[in-house]
Point group: C2
Chain length 131, copies 2
DNA sequence: GAAAAAGTGATAATAATTACTATTTTTTGA
DNA sequence: TCAAAAAATAGTAATTATTATCACTTTTTC
């Protein structure tokens, strides 16, 4: 069904080479560095295809923009309630185990766990302001 | 800062009286039953205010539409990978405890846990089709 | 290597959400 | 109680992320 596409390969490479969980616009700008005439529509189309094929996940929608992740393994995110940054975080092995058990017991396909809080950068700037 | 507003009260009532985690459009249609000339902009503005004040949470974005929940207590959702329905589900007490511990230990503000799978209705129709 | 299938760039269209503004509702405080 | 100030609203226009379209190019098939 799906042919090979050099654009798709580049888009996937961009997503796998960052931990920033970027939106389509960011992926587009990164791709333009090596493929100057790639179009934004191509990025959107391929992100949808890559999501469909399970090579990429749509991890959250922040400020109206969909955010993508090239890491499809089960992992947890911190979403900053101020700046919207999406950050990978570690969780206790007890929690990881309980999550996986709940998933398996109920035959759920996959899990999305987000904690919300200020990220380190926003905590910093918050401190500066209040001192 | 915020005055009283009968529209806001109605919007909150609508959200608290459903378990369907509706989008703004649904809230708007429900409100129109008692306030025929309420405007969609008012619904959006008040949903944002209610989210800000913590009376409502934005629980997910499904098919490009933000979905709201009038139940602000920590609870878990099943999101149907076919129809997009958002459904409250129970989790084991072990998982609930591990989640709360992780939250407290790291001083996270709040948690959002979503499992993805077919909902019961979509499982049903899937069965019908494949037999 | 030619026909068929899939992908692309450029651009137009769609649709959810936000902004704007004249008017109305609510609050304030004398 | 009531008039001025503050906040909210309806109606509508503007914005913006995303999707659709289509003539053309790349990839696959056989």
């Amino acid at each position: 069904m799906a042919n090979y596409s050099s654009r798709r390969e580049t888009i996937l490479k961009v997503l796998r080479s960052t931990k920033s969980h970027p939106c389509a616009e960011y992926v587009y700008e990164e791709c333009r560095k090596s493929i100057p005439n790639i179009s934004l529509g191509t990025v959107y189309r391929n992100l949808a295809m890559l999501e469909q094929s399970g090579d990429v996940i749509k991890v959250a929608t922040v400020d109206g923009r969909d955010r993508y992740d090239g890491d499809t393994s089960t992992h947890t995110h911190l979403i900053c309630t101020r700046c919207g940054r999406v950050i990978d975080i570690d969780i206790s092995s007890e929690l990881a185990l309980a999550l996986e058990q709940e998933r398996a017991n109920n035959d759920y396909q996959y899990i999305q766990l987000n904690f919300y809080s200020l990220c380190d950068e926003c905590k910093q700037s918050e401190n500066k302001q209040t001192i």
